[in-house]
Symmetry: C3
């Protein structure tokens, strides 16, 4: 089941990449690369930092196919994507919930400190979008608004709190993921954002 | 002989970096870094992703000297570089042909799927320019126009098709490289480009 | 003692990151990431290139706390930071002196060529700022002005010259670091900069 969520997340991330790239008037190759980077960039950075190479998308070709198919679909149906905005938001949110917890667990199995694990989880979930924005010559959107990374950080913290309870591993995984998802949905619903400090 | 081609490619890439950096009014240090990144950035990213570290330019100092010499030459003769435009285009094109095939073969020896190998080859050839453009605060040029990466992808596909034929290894190498080179030359000659999709 | 210098350097780098991020009107998360990247980005790139993973800040959590504390302090006292400009310049300068020599020595223990070691030292000291500027959508400031990287390169060269003398290891370390620091201070005092070549 986690695999299916992972694929739904990849689809949502790819489509978000396609939309940004179309906006920047890139050609087909540029669009594909941006979609790919948005989908796998965070996990790739995580793998490189902990030294787990070849990075994960090189070992499971499925994700390359998913990105390819999503990109082609998104280009063909680009005028219709607006109707999907809600589903895409949901996929994306479920995706970051999953990626966060996967990142945290990779950190744990590499024997790293909880704070580093939370950082790795947040990175897995958010840095695909950061690299996308850099390649598109924008200041990364998550540095400027919306509770996005913050949801991932809260989910990561939740993971380590719940892990102390006498629960089964899968439960910890799911509850921490839900913390990310619920935080993000509430933040968007109530237009919460981090305070500006300047 | 491949070594000589590699050096010619490095020269062409370095000079292209110098020209972009001069355009951005960088100082001597900035110019050198941009030249260096343009020349070795793609291969460095490839090595990091597959975990082949220290990355290759750290192990063969020749390329550092080549970049240094090319940069100094390009700065001194910058007003004359226009006369070399054709040779530079040729070196650059031969360079990406070579880099593509080298990247594909590194992927194969790391036991990766053909699609990943083709991606690695394309990355080796093209991502030096991508990093150059990011450092210069531009949207990477290969995401916007010209059949450049596409030539590398075709060369990579050709590699795997030809490899099934009963040919000697070097032939596969050369023919795949020529596919990249010829595609690129034809694309420039006939002003082919990928369709815009926006 | 080196550990204390390292922490002072980290504080100075973090604060410089906070100032740039505030300038770009980032939110709290963005500011923290920029501070973090400025402080550890150079060393991270160095570790990735030579394959020393997990990268160093993942193994010593102290630096994460230092960045966090510096960031919070810098945000709270941002209107007062101007009074600290001189101390910050000093911390930053001592920091790059230290980072340069640490980077050079990491290269040596990885068995790399002196030129590569000098490049690694310079990268450790300067590339946090480069990544900061890229994330903030600016052309990296060290590519455009000031003797900054140049001071690190000179310090690296000094390291290899002094190492041939019959001196104790710590002396080599300190003198090379001082070369960086003195060069940088003199350059700022006398407004030296690399010649423009365009």
């Amino acid at each position: 089941m986690f695999y299916i969520i992972d694929i739904l997340g990849t689809i949502a991330f790819s489509i978000s990449g396609v939309l940004v790239a179309l906006n920047k008037k890139m050609d087909a190759f540029g669009i594909l690369i941006i979609a790919f980077v948005t989908a796998v960039g965070g996990g790739t950075l995580r793998d490189i930092l902990i030294g787990e190479t070849p990075v994960s998308w090189m070992k499971d070709i499925t994700f390359v196919y998913v990105v390819l198919a999503s990109t082609i679909m998104a280009i063909i149906f680009k005028s219709k994507i607006d109707y999907l905005r809600k589903s895409l938001f949901l996929f994306d949110t479920i995706g970051i919930g999953l990626y966060t917890v996967v990142g945290v667990e990779k950190g744990i199995s590499a024997g790293l400190h909880p704070i580093i694990c939370i950082a790795l989880g947040t990175m897995s979930a958010c840095f695909g979008g950061v690299i996308r924005d850099i390649l598109c010559n924008e200041i990364p959107v998550i540095f400027r608004k919306e509770i996005y990374a913050t949801a991932c950080i809260l989910g990561g913290i939740a993971y380590f709190i719940i892990k102390r309870l006498p629960l089964e591993g899968n439960f910890v995984f799911i509850i921490a993921g839900l913390v990310v998802i619920v935080t993000r949905i509430l933040a968007v619903k109530f237009k919460l954002r981090l305070p500006n400090l300047y």
